[in-house]
């Protein structure tokens, strides 16, 4: 409790500082925004930065006059990588703090655990991370990628001449709903491309797993059995650090067996020596290394914010895809509220469809009119020695999301809400 109060006090004072008004005078004229990200536990490595970027964006919106003439007031809670706690904290945000919208969750299991709460209390959740699809909820806007905006293009790239012409695949993941579903979709997709079951190795580890010796040895063995092999990693959270360390130590080079990851970005690689990882891949809809004015402004803003707020290691902070998605989501919510003229959840949901925003990825992203997902470009990057990514392949246009994958049976005709 102490910690929560402390964080609350901190954010409150931050927002007061930003606004420059005494607390009592504006308390009634603010719009509360919930931020529901793990600040401790195995997912803190990924989610802490999302909390930071949400606070930064709120500050930015407030500096520009707020929304409907009111300032935004962030309410930060820490669900501590504990899935049932996500539901409790979500209920607290909606019922007690009466927030207008919640930005949060990383793992699909946390999203699944808060869904009933959002449905029951008719809340509004912006979910900023790529995920497995197979879900479409009226109360949720998905600003991350669906499988056809990340996983499928990445595997297609690996199979292409340019990507090395992989014929055998290791599907490696953390043991929960996102990796299992994604791998089910990928397996069906690979089958449709003529890859046999014998050429697919599926393996899972628990959350927080730290000993990847056996798995790396198994990948090596599998890769040595002939055809060109690639690894598709859906490992989530801090297990990635020991995984990539072991990969480097075992001398498994990207030129031999490339690893493409769907949950590893600039932030996760901060704790790793990336020199042995040169050339391993990640598929996202944004990379920090993308060169355009919007991205430059975004990075500069975040750096300045991190310095001002004394974020640990503020001089080396990075931006990544889910951070961009959080940023885009908050701005789109603001536009929708202004269009609807109210923060009423149903009115905002109606106004969200068709919103556009010039994103740091350099593309103008559109919220789909019917399926609550963004149209996003797909970028595939290779790890550089400095922990950044070189974009080696990208789509020309943003792609429409298919939350219901055509590679899973029974999904025909389920595309709309």
């Amino acid at each position: 409790m102490n910690r929560r109060n402390f964080v609350k006090a901190l954010t409150l004072s931050a927002s007061i500082a930003a606004i420059g008004l005494p607390a009592g005078a504006h308390a009634a004229d603010t719009i509360k925004i919930g931020i529901l990200h793990s600040l401790s536990g195995t997912m803190a490595i990924s989610e802490t930065a999302l909390k930071n970027v949400a606070l930064m964006t709120i500050e930015e919106i407030n500096a520009g006059g707020g929304v409907l003439g009111k300032k935004l007031e962030p309410v930060v809670v820490d669900p501590a990588s504990n899935w049932p706690l996500f539901a409790e904290r979500a209920r607290q945000l909606l019922a007690q703090d009466k927030v207008a919208a919640v930005f949060g969750c990383w793992t699909s299991v946390s999203r699944k655990s808060v869904l009933p709460v959002f449905k029951e209390l008719n809340g509004l959740l912006f979910y900023p991370v790529q995920y497995e699809g197979e879900e479409l909820e009226k109360n949720v806007f998905y600003t991350g990628a669906a499988p056809n905006q990340q996983a499928i293009p990445a595997v297609e790239y690996l199979m292409s001449e340019e990507g090395g012409g992989a014929k055998r695949f290791v599907l490696l993941g953390t043991d929960y709903v996102y990796p299992r579903t994604t791998n089910k979709i990928l397996r069906a997709f690979l089958k449709s491309k003529g890859v046999s079951d014998a050429d697919i190795l599926e393996d899972y580890t628990p959350f927080g797993h730290a000993d990847y010796q056996t798995i790396i040895a198994r990948i090596k063995h599998f890769a040595a059995e002939g055809k060109k092999t690639a690894v598709v990693s859906t490992i989530n959270g801090d297990s990635n650090v020991p995984f990539y360390k072991e990969l480097g130590n075992a001398g498994l080079k990207a030129t031999d067996v490339p690893v493409v990851a769907f949950s590893v970005g600039e932030e996760e690689l901060r704790g790793v020596d990336t020199k042995p990882l040169l050339g391993h891949l990640a598929a996202w809809n944004y990379f920090m290394s993308v060169d355009n004015p919007q991205n430059k402004a975004f990075i500069d803003k975040y750096r300045a914010w991190a310095k001002k707020n004394a974020v640990p290691n503020a001089d080396t902070v990075v931006t990544n895809d889910p951070m961009e998605a959080t940023y885009v989501g908050l701005h789109m919510w603001k536009q929708a509220v202004e269009k609807a003229g109210s923060t009423d959840v149903d009115k905002v949901i109606a106004a969200m469809g068709g919103q556009t925003f010039k994103a740091p990825s350099g593309f103008t992203l559109t919220m789909d009119a019917t399926n609550h997902h963004l149209h996003k470009p797909v970028l595939i990057g290779e790890v550089r020695a400095d922990g950044q990514f070189d974009v080696v392949w990208q789509t020309q246009q943003p792609i429409r999301a298919q939350p219901w994958s055509p590679f899973i049976e029974g999904n025909e005709g389920k595309q709309g809400l």
Binding site: R3, G41, E162, P206, T214, A217, A254, D273, G279
Partner: protein, 543 residues
């Protein structure tokens, strides 16, 4: 008098050029068309890189360097080198007026990087250093294309170093398996029997397959003798790979065992010998890891040139930090709870929460970044692609070192004798003048300090965060209980045994199932033998 005729001049000139070419094949000027291919589409680039490797020469090497370093680009379809002082044409070397920003940089992806690596290796075969030639030959053994066969043959003929020759012979043999000459193929198939490379095995296996269906099927390899040689070589390779893999699994089992041991050794003293159920043991590991982090930080800011040695300096720091926390715990809390296991369990559990929160407040909730020193990165390769990482080898040795230290302390020092005496019969020890209270504190401090050393070892392979200890407390108790409460030898056998069993199960059933199976195994074992692998005999055991 007539001077040489025009025609004679021409012949002389051609001869000179030919001689120059023969003497220095590497110096031949590069074909501009070939170089321009680097600026073309993807396939043209791969072809151009391959051709550069075959052509050889400093110019080719420089171009490959520039390409890999991201210093090649195109301006209006013209290939340019992007230098700090401006753009230069890649073929002629002339400086261009255009601004450096005008060039589109050529991005290198894995496919290109592999081609560059192969081409580079082909160039490095003529290096003066045997080590460089060996590395080059190794790369070519994996990736050489048939176009490189003449380059390899030339290098093999000129090579003096035996190690390099052996690798080159494999590389050539691999390519010669596709030769039209059955005698060459036979020789290649026989030579490859000495390899321990799974990729070679697959090449050989492909020869033993049949093409077509039913009666019309023909062997991929027409010659029966070659097939027999290939089959024999395959068996030899299989045997070697099998051995290497078993050795690899055994090693990872030992490595996991050594980590379990380091995590449990401190507990074997505090719980096993002193009988205190210390739920905060995991947090003592965490204290050790955080002390390591602080030492790393101090080295980074004050002695950056000795950063690689921070791990050594962290050994006393981790021990002392955890021992001090241990002393504080013993003096302030546990002292008052001896002989009341349930209360001490609850009290230490509370302490563990206090320590976790303290770490969160002081260092933040995020995991800390601890870099492996360079001498602990990488690994040594056994046959068949099995790599033993240096960090795990070092930790294995470190566990043995700590174990020997504790054994010496317990068996050879006065303090150790006191500790054994107090644990065996406290009132009697007190009667003969052993300061039992001080011995308790010291023993607990040593157990805690050893936990700190465990934390130091864990920091090199696992994540360091406030809650890292909670993941190891169960493992540590498992080891101590399985080994038998009351002495150290049981903990050693239990830790190594559990590690090896877990790793073999993991290879067979996957990480998730292996974890369950290990727990089921321990439950079953404790049912059969509640006293653990080893049980103390005598009065203490009965009490």
């Amino acid at each position: 008098m007539f001077g040489p005729t025009k025609r004679q001049w021409c012949i002389a000139a051609v001869l000179c050029v030919l001689m120059a070419l023969a003497a220095l094949p590497a110096r031949a000027a590069l074909d501009p068309a070939l170089v321009q291919g680097l600026g073309g589409d993807f396939n043209a680039r791969v072809a151009a890189i391959d051709a550069l490797g075959v052509a050889g020469g400093d110019e080719a090497a420089a171009l490959l360097d520039a390409l890999e370093g991201g210093r090649l680009g195109t301006v209006d379809g013209r290939l340019v080198v992007i230098a700090p002082d401006g753009l230069r044409d890649a073929t002629s070397g002339e400086a261009l007026a255009a601004d450096a920003g005008a060039a589109t940089r050529i991005t290198v992806n894995n496919r290109l990087r592999r081609a560059i690596g192969t081409a580079r290796a082909a160039l490095a075969l003529s290096s003066a250093q045997p080590a460089q030639r060996l590395a080059a030959a190794d790369t070519l053994r994996e990736n050489a294309s048939p176009a490189l066969l003449p380059v390899l043959a030339r290098a093999l003929a000129a090579e003096q170093d035996d190690a390099v020759r052996a690798v080159l012979r494999y590389a050539t043999a691999k390519l010669e398996l596709a030769s039209p000459d059955p005698a060459l193929r036979l020789k290649a198939a026989q030579a490859l029997g000495g390899s321990s490379d799974a990729a070679v095995k697959n090449l050989l296996a492909a020869l033993l397959e049949k093409r077509g269906d039913g009666a019309a099927a023909t062997w991929v390899e027409a010659d029966a003798e070659v097939r027999a040689a290939a089959a024999a070589s395959m068996r030899a390779i299989d045997r070697r790979i099998g051995l290497a893999q078993t050795a690899g699994t055994l090693f990872s089992g030992l490595s996991l065992g050594s980590i379990l041991l380091l995590a449990a050794l401190g507990l074997a003293i505090t719980y096993g010998v002193m009988g205190v159920i210390n739920m905060a043991h995991g947090e003592l590991l965490m204290v050790g890891a955080y002390a390591t982090f602080l030492v790393q930080g101090a080295f980074r800011s004050h002695l950056p040139e000795y950063l690689d040695l921070y791990v050594l300096a962290a050994i006393p720091a981790a021990f002392l930090a955890a021992a001090l926390v241990g002393i504080a715990m013993e003096r302030l809390v546990l002292r008052h709870l001896y002989g009341r296991p349930l209360e001490s369990l609850l009290a230490t559990w509370g302490l563990s929460l206090v320590l976790i929160q303290a770490a969160r407040v002081l260092f933040g909730p995020q995991n800390l970044e601890l870099a492996n020193p360079s001498w602990m990165s990488g690994g040594v390769e056994l046959a068949g692609g099995v790599v033993l990482p240096y960090n795990r080898i070092v930790i294995l040795g470190f566990a043995a070192f700590v174990l020997v230290l504790i054994w010496l302390m317990m068996q050879k020092t006065r303090l150790g004798m006191f500790v054994r005496a107090v644990t065996q019969n406290r009132p009697m020890a007190g009667c003969v003048g052993v300061p039992t209270a001080r011995v308790d504190t010291l023993a607990f401090a040593i157990g805690s300090g050893v936990a700190g050393l465990g934390g130091l070892a864990l920091s090199q392979i696992a994540n360091v965060g406030p809650a890292m200890g909670t993941g190891y407390i169960v493992d540590a108790f498992m080891v101590v209980v399985l080994g038998g409460v009351g002495q150290l030898a049981g903990a050693v056998w239990a830790a190594l045994g559990l590690g090896i069993v877990a790793k073999f199960l993991e290879g067979w059933a996957g990480a998730v199932v292996a974890k369950i199976l290990v727990l089921v195994f321990i439950i079953a074992f404790i049912q059969k033998r509640p006293q653990g692998i080893f049980a103390l005999k005598g009065r203490f055991a009965d009490s």
